[in-house]
Each structure stands twice: as structure tokens, then as C-alpha cells.
């Protein structure tokens, strides 16, 4: 037994060194779980399948429990062994706790009441549907040893780092070689010129000097017609540039300020497909599309405390994890004790989209009534790592859209009557926003 155990362990460490991608870690875990299954057989009489246990754990327990981290409930790695060693509680106690913890608490069980009090009276949901087999599967999963992420990270980190420096190195070498070549070429040319001159002097050949006639500038100034043409050309072109410059004053298209927390719309609405209105909920019902308060961040980030998506050179996992820590600091959330400290810190977001004070715009009219997609005005936000202003937000831009967009009459009885009357008046099937009064000055300026 011992020998085979060691052999397997050697195998697994060898495997770990070869791991390059995160996907293969799960294979490793599977391998480890098979090995541990064999190991746990000798410890516990009941047989549990940790792979089945993992899926049961993830669907039923993971909302409140993590294997290694205190969440709503305690960390559960090795819970059975821990309870057996520290509290002298056996599998039967655990089974009855999981199936109906509140009954166990009511029965006056000492440890049950202690843990209930320790977690501020947060009652664990009852799971009467679990069979003995399900429970031993789950406990087999929690009994697994922790996979060593450090070794994997180191193994995967080294090749990628090498790759990065390799490409940098080759680029530098090529550039350096080119610079040296050009220098040699220049030196060679100078040397050739000097030798030729020496030859000329030695052979008494006269080197022709360039004759100085009327300079080009003087000829140009004396030619009145050319001067006039050039002057007109310069005046027109400078007028063009000055006009262009004046027209872009006050237009913030492309404005991309640095925000206090690096919030990536790409990760949230692109990768995770979270609806825009999840966070910007007031866009449905109010003039403003509000900046979400931190409690909305905490809806998910109470559970999501680290970043596990794809990373780039610029934005590493460490970088994103540090940004999540900034939310915790702002919300006053203590991630270790899983409770709010009450020391909050407002986040000073930088506002990107700003209409001037003399123009009125209402989000709910566009989002709820007209049913326009957010992307129509805000651009491909789900691809933006850093948010920027996509549209110009000029008056011409507003008017243009009002001229081209048909009024959404479907599912809107409020518009039915006026749409019928106006479409008869204009003789069209579909009214545009402009025909419905979308160009009237007083609609936006009052």
C-alpha cells in the first residue's frame, strides 16, 4: 500500500510540473480524487465518489460553503475528520445536521447550538433529499487534499515568462543588428568619398563647384501670381483646419478617463453576459442611468473574490484581484471574517457622458418606451476593457437618429391614437421620431 501510494504521489508531482494550462489542472484533480478515493477507503467504511460529490457540492452547498475559505458558512475541507477529532462527532451527527440542522439545534445538541451562535443565527437550509450515498459522496469530496496551486502556477508561469522575454530579446537583437549595419554603411560611404577626393587632388582633376544663381526663394517672392495662389491656398486650408478645430470644441467623443477602480465592461457584460440594466437599473425608470452603488457590486463579489478569466500581459490575475480588493475597501467588507466592518469609503467615479446643462435627455424614455438597445448610443460596451464615450453626443447626432428611427408603437397603447392620426396626416405607415415631434426645440431645450 505504502509503495503504491508513493509511486502515485511521484506520478502526480511529475504531472504537475508538466501542467501548462489551467484546464489540465482539473484532470489532475480528477486523478488525485481517484487516488484519494482509494486512500479514503481504508479510513472510512462507507464508500464515496468524490467526483459525484463535487457536482452535488457545487449545486447544493457552494452557495454558502467553500472548501478552504469561510463564507456564509464554515470552510469544509476535511470537515468529517475535523469533527471526529475535535468534537468527537461521527457521520450520523453530520447526516442529521445536513438533513435538518434546525431540528438538531432545537434538540439541544451542544455543538449544533455552538456553531449556530458562531454564525449569528444563520440557519442552514435543510437537505432532506440527500441519500446516505449522496452524503458520503459529498464528504468524500470535502475529504480531498488540497491541490497545490503554487507548484502549478510556478510551472505554468515559467514557460510563459520565457516566451515573453524571448520575443522581446529577438526584437532587440534584430533592431541592434540593423542599427550596427546602418552605421557601418554610413562609415563606408564617408570613407569612399574621402578616398575619391584624395584621388582627384592627386590627379589634378578640378571638382566643379555648384554655381550660385538667383535663389529659389527670391524668385518666388518676385513672382506675384504664384504668391497670390499660394496665399489663397494657405488661407483656405487654414480656414478648414480652424473650422475643424472649433467644431470639435465641447465634443468629448473618445473621452476615456482613468477610473478609481479598473472596472472592465468586457468581463462583466461581454464574458459574463450580465444585462446592462442589472447594474444600471435606474435607466429603466429615470432620467439618469445611475452608476451602481457598491452593494450591487457586492451582490456578486461577496462570492467572487478572485478573478479566474483570461489574462493579458497588461492585466494579470493579480491586477484584477487587487481591483476586487478595492471594492471590498469601499464597501467595508472584511473578506476573511465575511462581514461588513461599517468603514465605508465612497468611490469617486469619473463621469464620462456629460450633456450640457441646456439640453434635456431622459434615459427611461429611450430605454423603456422606445426599447432602444444601450449599444445604439454607447457603442460596443461589452468589448470595452476601459469605458469611453462612443458617440459624439452632439445635437446633429441626436437629430439624425430622430429622423431615421421609427416610433415603437407595438405594445404601447399610449401611442396608438396619435400614431394613427399623424400617420394619416403625413401619409406614411411608420412615423419617425421626428414626425412625432422629435425635432421640436422645446422637447430638449427649455
Amino acid at each position: 500500500m505504502k509503495k503504491s501510494y508513493q509511486r502515485l504521489e511521484d506520478n502526480s508531482t511529475n504531472n504537475m510540473k508538466q501542467v501548462k494550462y489551467r484546464n489540465s489542472v482539473s484532470k489532475l484533480r480528477l486523478f488525485g480524487s481517484v487516488f484519494l478515493l482509494a486512500f479514503s477507503l481504508s479510513l472510512f467504511a462507507q464508500d464515496g465518489d468524490p467526483t459525484k460529490g463535487k457536482s452535488l457540492f457545487n449545486t447544493n452547498c457552494a452557495a454558502c460553503h467553500n472548501l478552504d475559505k469561510k463564507m456564509t458558512g464554515p470552510a469544509l475541507r476535511g470537515v468529517e475528520a475535523r469533527l471526529a477529532n475535535d468534537e468527537g462527532l461521527d457521520r450520523n451527527w453530520l447526516n442529521s445536521w445536513i438533513r435538518n440542522s434546525s431540528a438538531l439545534i432545537k434538540s439541544g445538541d451542544a455543538y449544533a447550538n455552538k456553531i449556530y451562535a458562531e454564525y449569528n443565527g444563520a440557519a442552514m437550509t435543510a437537505f432532506p433529499q440527500f441519500s446516505d450515498q449522496d452524503l458520503s459522496d459529498i464528504l468524500a469530496y470535502t475529504a480531498q487534499e488540497k491541490a497545490q496551486p503554487a507548484a502549478v502556477a510556478a510551472a505554468s508561469g515559467i514557460p510563459s515568462a520565457q516566451n515573453g522575454s524571448d520575443s522581446g530579446l529577438t526584437n532587440n537583437i534584430i533592431l541592434g543588428a540593423l542599427a550596427v549595419m546602418f552605421m557601418l554603411l554610413a562609415i563606408g560611404l564617408i570613407l569612399v568619398k574621402q578616398t575619391l577626393r584624395r584621388f582627384a587632388v592627386a590627379n589634378n582633376v578640378e571638382i566643379a563647384e555648384a554655381t550660385k544663381g538667383k535663389s529659389l526663394w527670391k524668385a518666388f517672392i518676385q513672382n506675384q501670381f504664384l504668391m497670390l495662389i499660394v496665399a489663397i491656398f494657405f488661407l483656405l486650408s487654414s480656414a478648414y483646419f480652424v473650422y475643424g478645430y472649433l467644431m470639435q470644441v465641447g465634443v468629448d467623443q473618445g473621452y476615456q478617463p482613468v477610473q478609481p477602480i479598473h472596472f472592465s465592461h468586457k468581463i462583466h457584460s461581454g464574458d459574463n453576459k450580465i444585462d446592462c440594466k442589472y447594474c444600471h437599473s435606474s435607466a429603466r425608470v429615470s432620467k439618469h442611468s445611475g452608476i451602481p452603488s457598491v452593494n450591487i457590486c457586492m451582490n456578486c463579489h461577496k462570492s467572487i473574490y478572485e478573478y479566474n478569466g483570461e489574462v493579458t500581459d497588461e492585466y494579470s490575475k493579480e491586477f484584477y484581484d487587487a481591483e476586487i480588493q478595492k471594492i471590498y475597501a469601499a464597501a467595508g467588507w472584511d473578506d476573511v471574517d465575511q462581514q461588513y466592518t461599517g468603514e465605508t469609503q465612497p468611490i469617486k467615479w469619473v463621469r464620462i457622458h456629460n450633456l450640457p446643462d441646456f439640453a434635456y435627455f431622459n434615459h427611461s424614455q429611450h430605454v423603456s418606451v422606445a426599447g432602444i438597445e444601450c449599444q445604439t448610443c454607447h457603442g460596443p460596451v461589452e468589448e470595452m476593457e476601459i469605458m469611453y464615450q462612443y458617440s459624439s453626443l452632439t445635437m446633429g447626432w441626436c437629430i439624425n437618429c430622430h429622423r431615421e428611427t421609427n416610433v415603437k408603437v407595438k405594445d404601447n397603447e399610449y401611442y396608438t391614437k396619435i400614431h394613427d392620426q399623424l400617420s394619416k396626416k403625413y401619409g406614411v405607415d411608420q412615423l419617425t421620431a421626428a414626425q412625432m415631434g422629435g425635432l421640436e426645440c422645446g422637447k430638449c431645450h427649455y
Binding site: 457540492f57 457545487n58 449545486t59 452547498c61 457552494a62 452557495a63 454558502c64 460553503h65 463564507m71 456564509t72 443565527g121 444563520a122 440557519a123 435543510a126 437537505f127 433529499q129 526663394w217 499660394v230 494657405f234 486650408s237 487654414s238 483646419f241 480652424v242 475643424g244 478645430y245 470639435q248 470644441v249 465641447g250 465634443v251 468629448d252 473618445g254 473621452y255 476615456q256 478617463p257 459574463n272 453576459k273 450580465i274 444585462d275 440594466k277 442589472y278 437599473s281 439618469h288 452608476i291 452603488s293 452593494n295 450591487i296 457586492m298 451582490n299 456578486c300 461577496k302 462570492s303 467572487i304 479566474n308 465612497p346 467615479w349 456629460n354 450640457p356 446643462d357 441646456f358 469611453y388
Partner: protein
């Protein structure tokens, strides 16, 4: 010589135009027409903490708002489960609106069918979302409303994203999903 000066002037203009930094806002013609005199939403203000959005005085109640009497605790949850009933009768329930709101706020974790297989669960960002037909929880309208209002365990409160009527619409839709799941 004159044209040399002109070329210089144009070069300077071009440089000035091309130097616009993306991280700083552009110039404005008449800032006092752009910037309002009154406080702007989320703006800075001359209050003690410098924020325009002040917390209402304690005990103040917005117009048309009915306070929710049941407290945020396990006992409150049980009380809501036992006693709280939806104020919406069958004529006021709009399932299509409930679905729209549900898909935005709940579906991302609970899944659009209520089986606990939302996008975030499939991507293993958040785990352990129960299905609505979970027998151990045995949710009903009171307990659903209480959970939306205060949150439960890892779930946060949705009271500020949904108003009272919208919350009850979502409750009706969740009950419909539960019935569908139990079929």
C-alpha cells in the same frame, strides 16, 4: 520667409489639435452654459462629506412608499413565509413584465428557467444556486419576497433595483417557474 511663418502656424495648430488627450475632457465654448448652477447627480457639493447624494434623514419615508415591517432575520424569513401574501390579484399580474425583470436581475444566477443554471453558474463564477423546486427550501410567495427584499446568505438585497410592485411581479413569475419545474 512669410510662407515659412505660415507653415509654422499651421504646424502649431495641427499639433494643438492632435495633442487632445483622451483621458482629459475637451475644452468647452462657454462652460457656464454647460455646467449647471444647481448640484448635478453624483456631483460634488458643499456638504460635510462633499457628496451631492446624501443619505435621507433617519426615519424619513419617500412619498408613496409603504415600509416593510418584517425584519431581516431568520425569524423574519419564517414569519414572511407563514404570513406574507402578494397584494397583486390575478388581474394585476403581468407575467411578461415579470419575466423581463427576472431575466435581467435573477436569471444571471438562477437561470432563465429557475433551475439554478444561470450564466454565472455555468461559467463557475458563483456556485450552489438552488433550483426553485428544492424541497428543503420549499419557497412560497412570502419567502420569495423576503429574500428579494433582504437577500439571503450569499444573495444580496434587490430592494434598490426593483420597486415594491416590480418585486411582486418577479415573485409571481418565480412562482410560475416553480410550478413549471415541479411538473
Amino acid at each position: 520667409m512669410k510662407s515659412l511663418i505660415k507653415i509654422l502656424v499651421i504646424a502649431v495648430v495641427l499639433v494643438a489639435v492632435s495633442c487632445k488627450k483622451d483621458t482629459a475632457p475637451n475644452y468647452q465654448f462657454m462652460p457656464n452654459m454647460y455646467e449647471s448652477v444647481g448640484y448635478k447627480t453624483y456631483g460634488e457639493a458643499a456638504f460635510q462629506n462633499g457628496i451631492e447624494a446624501q443619505i435621507p434623514a433617519q426615519g424619513s419615508i419617500p412619498r408613496g412608499y409603504v415600509p416593510f415591517d418584517i425584519e431581516n432575520s431568520t425569524a423574519g424569513y419564517e414569519l414572511a413565509k407563514a404570513t406574507l401574501l402578494s397584494p397583486l390579484d390575478s388581474t394585476k399580474v403581468e407575467l411578461n413584465r415579470g419575466k423581463e425583470l427576472y431575466d435581467i436581475y435573477c436569471g444571471i444566477c438562477h437561470g432563465n428557467k429557475g433551475k439554478g443554471q444561470g450564466k454565472l453558474v455555468q461559467r463557475e463564477k458563483i456556485l450552489g444556486i438552488p433550483s426553485y423546486d428544492d424541497v428543503g427550501r420549499a419557497i412560497n410567495e412570502g419567502s420569495i419576497y423576503h429574500t428579494i427584499y433582504y437577500g439571503k446568505n450569499a444573495m444580496g438585497s434587490y430592494a434598490n433595483q426593483l420597486n415594491e410592485e416590480e418585486r411582486w411581479q418577479v415573485v409571481s413569475y418565480v412562482l410560475k417557474l416553480k410550478v413549471d419545474l415541479e411538473k
